[in-house]
């Protein structure tokens, strides 16, 4: 089992300024501290839909890598996405799922099927050809770069340790300023750099949602 922040840091080392990244819930808060960037797509509107937003982005911008940092509870809400993405087969889509076995943003309750469900197995059965699973951080650190150099769609299950229930400021994900910054950055060719104020730690905007759904 891997520490989430260290696991995300291993991904971040291979993410460029041109890449679009869609992290969800607890992962999103860790991610925007590791990689504060206007091309983080943070506002998904309803639980489970990040990978579907990602499919739209990947189809619309085939010149860019689109990287989803999903959760296991989120994926369970939208399992059809595995089939739809495999069918559409965008070469630039990378779907990582952080499996911690809990709805961490909603009280830490266990997901159904915890410990028995194989997300990698479901992805394979859905038609994904490039699927892998990691529970050892050192091995993942060695392979993360190669995974992100593959032709998509790629599905990766990351077995991580839950960080427990945490209070979060969701305006950092759902605020209108976040979406505007993303749109501006993408429209500008994704050249925004890390000094974007859109994901600053100060809470601006409204949209104080928990689950966002």
């Amino acid at each position: 089992m891997m520490d989430r922040k260290k696991t995300l840091a291993a991904i971040a080392r291979h993410v460029t300024d041109a890449d679009i990244v869609l992290p969800v819930y607890s992962t999103a808060f860790d991610w925007i501290d590791i990689r504060p960037h206007a091309l983080n797509y943070l506002s998904h509107g309803a639980m489970g839909l990040a990978s579907s937003h990602a499919l739209g982005l990947a189809l619309g911008r085939p010149d860019k890598r689109v990287i989803v940092l999903d959760g296991d509870g989120s994926l369970l809400m939208n399992l059809g996405t595995l089939v739809s993405t495999a069918e559409a087969a965008p070469k630039n889509l990378f779907h990582f799922v952080c499996e911690n076995g809990t709805y961490e943003a909603n009280g830490g309750h266990p997901i159904p099927g915890r410990g028995h469900v194989s997300f990698a197995g479901m992805a394979r059965s859905a038609g994904h050809k490039s699927v892998c699973e990691f529970s050892d951080l050192k091995i993942f650190e060695q392979q993360a770069g190669a995974i992100l150099a593959e032709q998509g769609p790629v599905f990766v299950c990351l077995k991580i340790v839950s960080s427990g229930d945490q209070e979060r400021d969701y305006s950092r994900l759902h605020g209108a300023h976040v979406r505007k910054a993303f749109r501006d950055a993408l429209g500008a060719g994704g050249l925004h750099s890390q000094n974007s104020t859109s994901q600053s730690r100060s809470a601006r905007g409204a949209d104080q949602n928990g689950r966002g759904s």
Binding site: Y41, H44, L49, S52, H53, G56, L57, G60, S84
Partner: protein, 174 residues
């Protein structure tokens, strides 16, 4: 309430597809709907422009169209009203609260030809427009051939205003 089916002229699927293309739609994202199955979805599936993306559930499509909209590409979600009802939360969060141009073409399952949706005998049809009004979503009824001319302006307005729109298909296009 009088619910007598009026004489409604037929609806040309070919002309609807022409309007979709004229509206700049590059991707049609769809779960099959029996009202639009033969007249719209099947001919769209034979072509490559717009590209058809088949999905498993309608709320996926709301998010896919959202992602497309950020890239400057226009998507159209082609579904049945049952799927619209199933996707209310995604429409609420993604389309309405985020003010995104999610264009939905919705076949009205079991709507009687020539009968306005609100006067349908079918509960599942009657409730659609009031729900859209409650959510503040613009909608247009496409029941007769003359209505087809509403499609392109509706799509253009959705993208100009960055707001969702629903285009209700009231009878099976030929």
């Amino acid at each position: 309430m009088s619910v007598s089916a009026g004489a409604a002229a037929g609806l040309s699927g070919e002309s609807i597809i022409r309007e979709i293309k004229a509206g700049g739609i590059q991707f049609v994202v769809s779960v099959p709907d029996i009202t639009t199955s033969e007249g719209l979805l099947r001919p769209l599936a034979k072509g490559t422009d717009p590209r058809l993306i088949r999905i498993c559930k309608e709320d996926e499509g709301v998010a896919i169209c959202a992602g497309l909209s950020y890239t400057g590409k226009r998507g159209l979600l082609l579904i049945q009203q049952t799927g619209l009802l199933d996707s209310i939360n995604a429409v609420r969060g993604v389309a309405v609260e985020y003010q995104l141009p999610i264009c939905m073409m919705v076949g009205l399952l079991e709507k009687e030809v020539g009968v306005p949706p609100r006067q349908s005998k079918k509960y599942g049809v009657r409730i659609v427009e009031p729900i859209l009004e409650a959510m503040g979503i613009a909608y247009h009824e496409i029941e007769e051939q003359a209505d087809v001319a509403k499609i392109r302006p509706a799509i253009d307005k959705a993208f100009a205003d960055s707001k969702p729109v629903v285009i209700l298909i009231g009878q099976r296009p030929s």
